[in-house]
């Protein structure tokens, strides 16, 4: 991606996927399987999530703080699914819960202040369309499989809402079908752009801080203002991380509701 700005601001460098530990040449059957920084941060997300859930498994009748936090997360997701799908959605709770927690932790770990160590920066795995599109297609695939297994060809009645006048059925069917087929793309795109845009914004303000310090004079004032903006935008990004994880899980539940309950 082209460097932006006159003095070498490159907000896209933070998204570069690079092989680590000299694994750039590892390959199976001609396909590169290098262990990249993206893979490293996915493993870190998995480890943090695993530790978080382990801490809550004590099954005390009166939960301590950690167990209460884990129970808060599980009840949040199960309540959301009960409200949107109903009792038949229970069997999908593991998938939606894993999806929600992975996206939430991946988003939050991308904001972690690793940058205080010189030369290090965290990597947001959800800032790549490759990851978010795969998650979205998982959800969409599950919706299709569940829909067709449960209802067979009657699944197509999803695209003709109740009470449509007979004359309009062909047009409505095409429109609803197009809207349905866009779902995996919109699901993946929403998370990807939200994360990427937020991190580019943070990087631009950070580059203002550095350039202000280098300039001196009024540059120091610019740096201080930009730093305050970074604090504000980071708070906003924490909120957006949680909201985007919730929206992804919520929309997955709604699409599952469409497949299970048809209308």
């Amino acid at each position: 991606m082209a460097a932006e700005g006159g003095s070498g601001i490159d907000p896209m460098h933070q998204f570069r996927v690079e092989p680590l530990f000299g694994s750039g040449d590892w390959a199976i059957a001609g396909h590169n399987i290098a262990f990249t920084n993206s893979a490293l941060f996915m493993v870190i997300t998995l480890a943090v999530l695993w530790l978080f859930m382990l801490g809550g498994m004590k099954r005390a009748l009166v939960p301590g703080r950690w167990q209460a936090a884990v129970e808060g997360m599980t009840s949040f997701v199960t309540n959301m699914m009960d409200a949107n799908i109903g009792p038949q959605g229970r069997k999908f709770t593991p998938y939606v819960f894993s999806l929600f927690m992975f996206i939430l932790f991946a988003n939050l770990i991308g904001l972690f202040p690793l940058g205080v160590v010189p030369g290090w920066h965290p990597f947001t795995v959800t800032s790549h369309i490759t990851l978010t599109a795969v998650l979205a297609f998982f959800s969409f695939g599950i919706v299709l499989v569940v829909g067709f297994l449960r209802h067979g060809f009657h699944f197509f009645s999803l695209f003709v809402p109740h009470g449509t006048p007979k004359v309009m059925i062909p047009l409505i069917f095409v429109i609803e079908l197009a809207s349905f087929l866009v779902r995996p793309f919109s699901l993946g795109l929403r998370l990807f752009v939200a994360m990427t845009a937020g991190h580019i914004l943070l990087d631009v303000f950070a580059s203002f801080v550095v350039q202000g310090l280098n300039a001196g004079g009024i540059g120091y004032g610019v740096s201080i203002l930009s730093f305050i903006m970074i604090v504000g935008v980071s708070a906003l990004e924490l909120l957006v991380s949680a909201i985007q994880a919730y929206v992804f899980a919520l929309l997955t539940s709604l699409y599952l509701n469409d497949a299970i309950n048809l209308h």
Partner: protein, 76 residues
């Protein structure tokens, strides 16, 4: 006008769409808050729909951003 300049102007115009998304998202949350202040008891039950509305309005703004990126980096 050469292609590079046209690309940059196109991306700037697409960014106007992102600003319109701000209007849309503000509308969603504003309507929710207005209703919630009239009927606080019913507000908590509708929070799910609030976020669905937010996601839909935000998505269209993000699509405008994606068009800006496509114009800048994908058009040859």
């Amino acid at each position: 006008m050469d292609l590079a300049s046209a690309k940059v102007i196109g991306a700037g115009l697409a960014a106007i769409g992102v600003g319109m998304a701000a209007l849309g998202v503000g509308n969603v949350f504003g309507s929710f808050l207005e209703g919630a202040l009239r009927n606080p008891g019913a507000a908590d039950g509708q929070q799910g729909r609030l976020f669905i509305g937010f996601a839909a309005a935000e998505l269209l703004g993000l699509i405008a951003f994606v068009i800006a990126i496509l114009i800048l980096f994908v058009v040859k």
